[in-house]
Symmetry: C2
Subunit: 404 residues, 2 copies
């Protein structure tokens, strides 16, 4: 007799599936393919000199590199948490040191929030569409999803009310330039959602991964800041997930989660059990780099990505056949395309890779209810403007041939 | 109305508690305290020059640092996985590339194994005592523990049989110089445990964190190698967790888990959902460093830690009052002290810190059943020999005053 692995696995394992995005990323590495698939920053825009200097400083410091190379506390490197608290305060939310936890990217914050709140069968409210990585983080804890439709102002309030009446554990959303559809939740809608969730005793999880990447239009306060404002300065309803992956660099895996102390302190215990702490040296380096260059670097990113967004929107206006619509995001990395009803994004992707050397992500992956077959996510962050125009020309050529 | 956090938390949150070790580490930072508490490597022995060079190389490479700073695949950096496969083969276990996953320290592997196997109420077999971090990793998945007593050869086979008859999901153990008690599982006992577990269809989880740190006695094959040998070269029953934290440096948070493909591929999906991947640049750097200096550096560590172990054992022989016994580990970082029945390690710790400026970890924390109140874990890894002797002299002075 030997071990029959499938029989030993816990029930939650059934809820896990490979990310279509990540599996796709493996297929499209060929240089002739213009990929709008990966929602990743452009490596040419990484602050490499600042990072190089910061790593070097660790080894040249007078006290030696010992502390940066040793185990550390699960909460995170104290100067980095202080920087995060000051940053959050500059955005209007007063966060105490014991209300912030450094995580290994904001993806880990989503995993911890799933672990903290979700028991088998518990309801979780998400938007329609929503961030695929959030569904992947939550699903191992076996929730039932309730999906809330969106209009161009964000989640539709009638559907928020219907969802809250069913008493979900939390409502998860990406209020700024949402991955995947680029929509930004309006100020009025943000306030209404916080009030309704607070009244229903339902937590709000705000994923602010893209919040700094605004290219035009007025800046809107974060939901955690609005929550803090109505609660005397400190958040009571909103838990906020932040990330340095989009503003600085993804590979160091440094993000954070902040909000009510009761919730954050439980996540500190989770962190200790899950991986002890985030890489010490990477936290020291990230603190050094953000202290030095955060604002200037983000301005540089905004300039570069704005041109790419403009190139994509212009190309879509120039080349898209009738019946195809798309969002006009004010920031972030994504344009969301809606094809005529009955179109199939997955079938289109197969043809696009083979016949047009273009790739994107079919939108259905971003729906908890697996609807949205006629949608596509196009990332404009990685390619230069001319290449974006060429890729959109090729993709629209396929669409014009009735490929959908 | 507002959010009542405690009411929203999932049931598993009740099983989480602060690590006594980590809470203690915060108390004993005063320089006058000789601490045997933290089971951590000596920062003076970190390979800082090799690490510094490796980080610098990332930024000076001809292809630029882009790939090392970008998102990567969840499986881990391919050259590092290749190194791990070659390393495992040198230890007698043939591991294919799709049978190894790079994790953020071996603590993350333990979390993933808990997530993979344990549903609420499932049985998990551990030794008595066992690694506290494993209990912390498993407990959020709500197992019931069955604890197996140890003698100086490892887990007692009668108790292994009794535990296996109850059909646990897996048996977890640290076969080499176990944290906390320093005991090494003998060759015969390893083979017997693998055979019994394979026959019962129960997985074995081998935590090999300390395996390279042997100071004398004959090297014993790892359990995954013995499993592979009886199975034609590849493991079928044993899942192996490895770590660079004890051999190289902890702060980069790089470890691995390897074994049957069915189990490892599920953990790749978990990794994607939990934190996408381990820090890219840290994996690149770790690969560079282990390729350059692994064997030589481990020899250097063995020389230094052997002197410290010897200093602790000699001091205990010289100063310990009658009725106190301790283990004589052939490697690792820990000596385990047993006080007379009825003694209380926690009460002793309070007096030791206050009256003798010495710290250690009371042993009860390492028992799933919270027995072992009369035991202490002493780490000899951080202090130099003279300081170890002085600390043991002080501690034994307290013991001799009838402090227990």
């Amino acid at each position: 007799m030997t071990v029959e692995w499938e029989k030993l696995f816990a029930g939650r394992v059934g809820g896990m599936s490979a990310s279509e995005i990540r599996e796709l990323l493996k297929l499209i590495a060929k240089p002739e393919i213009i990929s709008f698939a990966g929602g990743i920053p452009d490596p040419d825009l990484f602050p490499a000199p600042a990072l190089s200097r910061a790593y070097q400083k660790v080894f040249e410091s007078n006290s030696g590199p010992g502390d940066a190379l040793q185990y550390t506390i699960s909460e995170g490197y104290t100067p980095l948490r202080e920087w995060i608290c000051a940053y959050m305060e500059s955005k209007g939310a007063r966060i105490a040191m014991d209300e912030v936890l450094v995580t290994s990217g904001s993806q880990q914050a989503l995993d911890f929030l799933g672990k903290l709140f979700i028991g088998p069968g518990d309801l979780v409210a998400v938007t329609k569409p929503t961030y695929l990585g959030a569904l992947q983080a939550f699903s191992p804890y076996e929730p039932t999803y309730v999906s809330i439709a969106m209009d161009d102002q964000g989640p539709v309030l009638d559907e928020v009310d219907t969802a809250l009446a069913r008493k979900p554990k939390f409502l998860y959303l990406v209020p700024d330039f949402q991955n995947p559809n680029g929509i930004t939740v309006s100020l009025d809608r943000r306030i209404a959602i916080i009030e309704r969730c607070a009244a229903a005793g339902v937590a709000v999880i705000e994923d602010a991964a893209y919040a700094e990447l605004r290219y035009d239009g007025d800046s809107i306060p974060s939901m955690v800041a609005l929550d803090a404002e109505r609660n005397g300065g400190s958040p009571a309803t909103v838990i906020h997930c932040g990330s340095f992956s989009k503003t600085m660099v993804p590979a160091l895996r440094v993000g954070w989660v902040c909000g009510a102390k009761d919730a954050v302190q439980r996540m500190v215990l989770m962190k200790q059990a899950a991986d002890l702490h985030t890489s010490t040296i990477n936290q020291v380096v990230m603190h050094d780099v953000v202290s030095e260059i955060f604002q200037g670097h983000v301005r540089r990113l905004r300039d570069a990505y704005k041109q790419r967004r403009d190139a994509m929107l212009t190309a879509l206006a120039d080349f898209a056949p009738p019946g195809v619509t798309w969002t006009k995001p004010e920031g972030g990395m994504f344009v969301w395309v809606e094809l005529p009803e009955g179109s199939d994004g997955v079938a289109l992707l197969e043809r696009a890779i083979k016949e047009a050397n273009v790739a994107f992500v079919p939108g259905a992956a971003f729906y908890a209810d697996r609807s949205g077959k006629n949608t596509l996510r196009l990332a404009f962050s990685v390619n230069k403007p001319e290449r974006i125009r060429e890729g959109i020309r090729r993709l629209c050529g396929l669409l014009g041939q009735g490929a959908v």
